[in-house]
């Protein structure tokens, strides 16, 4: 019974493929799979925007959207219809062809990254040996689309926004990719399915072998997550969009549904990064303890995914925006050295065979590097509570 529920989508797909002639079966399989993923994540995108607006509204002591549908949860449908019916304005001096192609060039690679995410046991659209590389290759091509959007608008704000975005994305791509190399070293494969399977509990073990449960895995997970925030251009790294300085960054000159496409690409990119974080560090569709294996694998994956998305929203509601130089310093002087340090630490962990000896060596090395690097970068500056001249003066708060 549990196995049937676990494989219900695989069986459904098989039933559908069995009903068509063999010649078109691969096409049907691909079309149904892609359609399901697009529909599911499209809906998730809509619901996430509503939940994010409501969640942040709670943090800021507001109500948030509460008019359309029950508790305002149909707000995304209203927004979608609105953006479809709006006029599509293209600036007169804009480069029309590039301006038109930019949102498509941004959304296409983002959607492609979902091909290699394993959503559950036997549930991956494209099972290839180089899945992780595919993910990063598709992710890297979004930078060019950002440039296309910023440049073709012929607007100084959008060009500035594009330059910020590209500088940020290239800088954070290094820790983004390097933090995953440790996982590849331990799993011995670039295939996303293989990486998930390497984290499952072996027969007789009660605890799964998630990479998160190791000192280097925890460090790499945090680095990966921070870099994912930056890659998705989300707060606290949302300078490319900085409303107060450059109004909306690289997509300022887009309106109507093209604007919605940029928005959608940003959220889908966030989902893809979260899904990859789940796959690499949180054991993908495996249960944390062997006793919970009876819960369907796809529920585990989407549960972890939703938890990470909630974390993204929480961070957006509670952190202030960085300054451009702080952003660059953080990527190059702090995250990159730590990501590089993780590689030898993983190698030592592998040769010590994990266990208590691995913990005894890896934890102090990583902790010492974190503390020393942080101290060295802060330097002689004293960090203390900022005193505001008007707001806090003389008031016991």
């Amino acid at each position: 019974m549990a196995a049937n529920v676990d494989q219900i989508f695989v069986h459904l797909m098989q039933m559908m493929v069995d009903r068509v002639p063999d010649a078109v079966a691969p096409w049907v399989r691909a079309a149904v799979g892609v359609g399901a993923v697009l529909g599911l994540f499209g809906l998730l995108f809509g619901l996430t925007t509503v939940c994010e607006r409501k969640g942040i509204a709670r943090m800021q002591n507001r109500l948030g959207p509460n008019r359309v549908g029950p508790f305002g949860f149909l707000q995304f449908a209203a927004d979608g219809i609105k953006s479809l019916t709006k006029e599509d304005v293209v600036p007169r001096s804009a480069d029309r062809v590039v301006h038109y192609l930019a949102p498509l060039a941004l959304l296409t690679p983002v959607v492609l990254t979902f091909l290699v995410l394993p959503f559950g046991r036997n549930m991956v659209l494209m099972h290839v040996d180089t899945g992780l590389l595919f993910f990063f290759a598709a992710g890297a091509s979004t930078e060019l689309a950002v440039f296309m959007a910023g440049w073709s608008s012929r607007n100084k704000y959008s060009l500035l926004g594009a330059m910020r975005a590209i500088a940020q994305m290239i800088s954070y791509e290094l820790p983004f990719i390097l933090s995953t190399v440790g996982v590849v070293m331990i799993a011995g494969t670039l295939s996303t399915v293989g990486i998930v399977e390497s984290q499952a509990a072996r027969p007789g073990e009660w605890l799964a072998r998630w990479n998160l449960f190791t000192p280097w895995g925890l460090a790499a997970f945090l680095l990966f997550l921070i870099a994912a925030f930056a890659e998705a251009n989300r707060s606290p790294f949302d300078l490319p969009e900085g409303e107060s300085e450059i109004v909306a960054g690289y997509f300022i000159e887009y309106s109507g549904f093209k604007f919605a496409l940029f928005f959608m690409a940003e959220y889908l990119g966030m989902f893809a990064s979260s899904g990859m974080a789940v796959t690499l560090f949180l054991g993908g569709w495996t249960a944390p303890v062997a006793a919970l294996d009876w819960i369907p694998s796809w529920l585990w994956f989407f549960g972890k995914l939703l938890a990470l998305i909630a974390l993204f929203i929480w961070v957006r509601g509670t952190t202030p925006r960085l300054r451009m130089d702080q952003l660059m310093d953080f990527a190059w002087k702090f995250m990159l050295p730590l990501a590089l340090l993780i590689l030898p630490v993983v190698a030592v962990w592998h040769y010590l065979g994990g266990g208590w000896r691995g913990w005894l060596f890896c934890t102090p090395v990583l902790a010492a590097a974190y503390v020393l690097l942080g101290r060295a970068l802060v330097g002689r500056r004293r960090i203390q509570r900022r005193v505001y001249r008007y707001a806090g003066e003389g008031v016991a708060s």
Binding site: D129, F136, A137, A140, E143, L144, W151, I166, I170, L190
Partner: protein, 178 residues
């Protein structure tokens, strides 16, 4: 001639033609990206997964960005760039012809213009990694040293110059001119 080969080969040719013929240098750069993507697709079609994906990661993700940014930062004025001076074009044509002859000759000497009878087997990522870490470890390390030197050089170029009134530094107490 599979349909995929026709598609990706067409992308390569169209992109390369565009990179030559378009007037706006940024358009030329973007057109070159189409060529990169076509090449990557050809590699994937041939079964060389790693090469194709690395092509996208490096060329579309990094080299193309570098290309368009250099063009953007070195442009002299608005609009289209000045006409390329004719007169030196036959040098370029000569070099291109020599490269083409060399490539075709190398290909002909390897394959002899005959389709392979036995099916090709392609190395997996694991095979590539093992080969890099055993047989080709010295070239790999040398490339690493060269890249490290280049990176240190770039960092030194970007360092702010301290004291001593070097080039590009205004004397103390004066506001730098805007």
């Amino acid at each position: 001639m599979t349909p995929w080969f026709l598609l990706f080969g067409g992308l390569v040719v169209v992109g390369a033609l565009g990179a030559m013929a378009l007037r706006n240098p940024v358009h030329c750069g973007l057109s070159l990206v189409v060529t990169f993507v076509g090449l990557a697709g050809t590699y994937l079609d041939l079964g060389a997964d790693f090469l194709g994906l690395a092509q996208i990661l490096v060329y579309v993700g990094a080299v193309a960005i570098l290309l368009v940014f250099v063009m953007l930062l070195t442009r002299t004025g608005r609009g289209e760039s000045p006409e390329v001076r004719p007169g030196g074009w036959w040098w370029g044509g000569l070099v291109a012809a020599l490269v083409a002859v060399g490539l075709v000759g190398a290909l002909a000497s390897v394959s002899g213009w005959k389709p392979r009878s036995e099916p090709m087997t392609f190395p997996t990522v694991r095979d590539l990694g093992v080969a890099l870490m055993t047989d080709f470890v010295l070239p790999l390390q040398l490339v690493g040293v060269v890249l490290t030197a280049a990176m240190i050089g770039a960092a030194i170029l970007a360092l702010p110059e301290r004291r001593g009134g070097r080039v590009g530094r205004t004397p103390k107490g004066e506001e730098p001119e805007q």
